[in-house]
């Protein structure tokens, strides 16, 4: 398969489309012309794009949860609760894991079992199985706009059905929904399949229907350095824009250090302004994901993690924040716990609405480093692709020039190793083959050496493990146990 970053012809699109719609019987119900008419009748306040635009202009941060269950009526009940009780600004529809693997048979079994067991046996809404009409039932039952959230490497049929079903926002991308979500799917394959999704969105746009697209920012959600996720966000955004996407929300997952997180949000906006300068009529917004790593089991402590995430989103002026719940450590939350995460987040966001983190030397330094790192990777990717971004990305993954920590995919080099520095910012313990200059490498080395000195140990994989468990155990930086005991005893 030879891919390139070039807008697909309608002919090519339609040829593949025929196959896509045959992947599951419900595909036959998708009629693009009818779908466009249907979308035209959705009022602006039920469109994600309109909501994002207003939030961006008035400088507020919207809140959105994750949620999805197997059956249509239960899913509506759940979302209505999050809308009315949780006051979610944007509603999600999280897709179940079988659908994400295009395993519609198991999804169908899950629907059946859910009916029998009278509880959801699926961890999300199997939108493909429910089909266009099922999606429309959901959309029509709610007053707020809806986004599809998933983790599907091949999301072509899912996009066809949900967009025809009235959803106005579609998460994912050829990197962010492959490398963290699949083991055996090549990067060529997913970039190709996501060009299809983006071309579909482009077709809607060309017909006057604005659909938002959101590359999945947090990737593996585990100590991902900002320059890694920024690179993926920019790449996926640029690939999408080429196919005609006009509304993009670029994402970033909280690392936990306030200065680094605000620097990440600000640098993401600034990098995007630069990289998308040629796309004049594009709307760029940002989404901040509350802590994606392990959560404390205790609900009061979980509330603290949620609130701190909301604080950072507000101080960093994200357009939207994805909220977590106090059941995070225990699995999929009840609707009550989900609404509580929303309410806590909203309280913080409203209280901090008029506040930002003021510029200072540390913040500027962080921004400078993130931007330099991201540009060095981006330059190299384009170089590898001889100017073609899509080809560059494939080669970059092969060479480890883009590399995502802790990803399951065998198409990911998996050579980089991140760890926290002494203030909790995520640094490169091993930068693998990322094409960084000496300045960058030394910056990170120095930061980790400082921590190592403080803890009386070498920076190693054990430090990384300690960091991964830390938040769940009530800390940000995973200090060695000996050190911890001393601290406890002298309190």
């Amino acid at each position: 398969m030879k891919i390139e970053n070039k807008k697909w012809s309608l002919e090519k699109f339609n040829q593949i489309r025929e196959e896509v719609l045959k992947q599951w019987p419900t595909g036959q119900d998708v009629d693009l012309e009818e779908a466009i008419e249907y979308q035209k009748n959705i009022e602006p306040k039920k469109r994600v794009t309109a909501k994002l635009k207003e939030a961006k202009e008035s400088g507020i941060t919207l809140i959105q949860p994750r949620a999805g269950v197997a059956l249509i009526d239960k899913h509506i009940e759940l979302l209505r609760f999050l809308q009315d009780e949780g006051k979610a600004d944007i509603l999600p529809t999280t897709i179940d894991s079988y659908t994400r693997q295009n395993n519609y048979e198991d999804a169908e079994a899950g629907i059946k079992e859910s009916r029998e067991e009278k509880r959801s046996m699926l961890n999300g809404f199997p939108a493909v199985n429910h089909g266009v009409q099922g999606c429309r039932e959901v959309v029509e039952a709610l007053a707020s706009p809806l986004q599809v959230r998933h983790g599907t490497p091949d999301a072509r049929l899912l996009a066809e059905i949900t967009l025809a079903g009235g959803f106005t926002d579609f998460e994912g991308g050829g990197i962010s929904y492959n490398i963290p979500y699949a083991k055996e799917v090549s990067i060529e394959r997913t970039i190709y399949d996501w060009q299809y999704v983006d071309r579909l969105v482009g077709l809607y746009e060309e017909n006057g229907i604005s659909i938002n697209r959101e590359p999945f920012g947090p990737l593996t959600g585990t100590l991902v350095p900002p320059s890694v996720s920024h690179t993926v966000a920019l790449v996926e955004g640029l690939l999408a824009a080429e196919q005609g996407v006009k509304n993009l929300t670029l994402g970033y997952g909280q690392c936990g250090n306030l200065v680094q997180d605000v620097a990440a949000l600000e640098s993401l906006r600034e990098l995007a302004a630069e990289y998308f300068a040629d796309f004049k009529d594009i709307m760029l917004t940002t989404v901040f994901h509350q802590w994606m790593g392990g959560f404390p089991q205790d609900e009061a402590q979980a509330f603290a993690v949620i609130s701190w995430g909301a604080s950072t989103a507000a101080l960093g002026n994200a357009t939207k924040v994805i909220t977590k719940t106090t059941h995070e450590a225990l699995g999929i939350p009840t609707k009550e716990a989900n609404a509580e995460g929303l309410k806590a987040s909203k309280q913080v966001i409203n209280m901090l609405r008029d506040q930002s983190l003021a510029s200072n030397d540390k913040l500027e330094k962080e921004k400078e480093m993130i931007k330099k790192e991201t540009k060095q990777i981006m330059d190299h990717v384009l170089e590898l692709g001889k100017g073609d971004l899509a080809q560059g990305v494939v080669k970059a993954f092969k060479a480890g020039v883009i590399d995502i920590p802790f990803a399951p995919s065998r198409f990911n080099a998996g050579k980089i190793l991140p760890a926290r520095d002494n203030e909790g910012a995520v640094r490169y313990l091993d930068h693998g083959n990322l094409p960084f200059t000496e300045e960058i490498v030394k910056f990170h080395q120095k930061k980790l050496e400082d921590r190592g000195k403080d803890e009386g140990r070498e920076a190693s994989f054990q430090m990384v493990i300690d960091d991964i468990y830390a938040v769940g155990q009530g800390e940000l930086v995973g200090r060695p146990k000996k050190n911890k005991k001393e601290e406890n005893s002298c309190k």
Partner: protein
């Protein structure tokens, strides 16, 4: 501390001299949670086990094939995404069918969708033929201690 060694312990020690215990670990079904899997691999290896990691998105058959091929002592199944109950159905029967009657079966993670009392969940998986069932948030140390106990290894 002096104690009379039981036959079992004696046997184990002899076995230890000649071979490491082998564990097959993986994340079952359509689950892609890779981080904990990587940490378990590291922790079990450090604890002295021979770890065969079949990674995420692993089917029941992959666990069983890996266990047969490597003459494994234990299969440890992780499931973090709530579909564990569906994904583990009939696993024990398939193991028996493949001649793995004596292989220990451990399972752990967020095994069901939604917040539920732990005891009924544990009971269900024990009835499904698993020897050990772990709730969310279990640290590697806990299963390492259980492994040593169940395999009759001296700590």
């Amino acid at each position: 501390m002096q104690k009379t060694k039981t036959k079992e312990v004696q046997k184990t020690e002899n076995k230890q001299e000649t071979e490491q215990k082998t564990l097959v670990i993986g994340v079952i079904g359509s689950d892609v949670h890779a981080v904990g899997n990587r940490i378990l691999e590291e922790a079990f290896t450090q604890a002295g086990f021979n770890v065969v990691n079949i990674g995420v998105l692993a089917a029941q058959e992959e666990f069983i094939n890996a266990a047969v091929e490597t003459d494994a002592d234990v299969i440890l199944v992780s499931s973090l995404y709530g579909h564990g109950e569906m994904d583990c159905k009939g696993f024990k029967a398939k193991c028996v069918e493949a001649g793995l009657d004596d292989v220990l079966l451990y399972v752990g993670g967020n095994l069901v969708v939604g917040k539920q009392d732990w005891e009924p969940v544990k009971k269900k998986f024990l009835e499904m033929g698993f020897d050990r069932v772990y709730p969310p948030g279990t640290m590697p140390e806990v299963s390492i201690a259980d492994l040593k106990k169940d395999l009759g290894l001296d700590d």
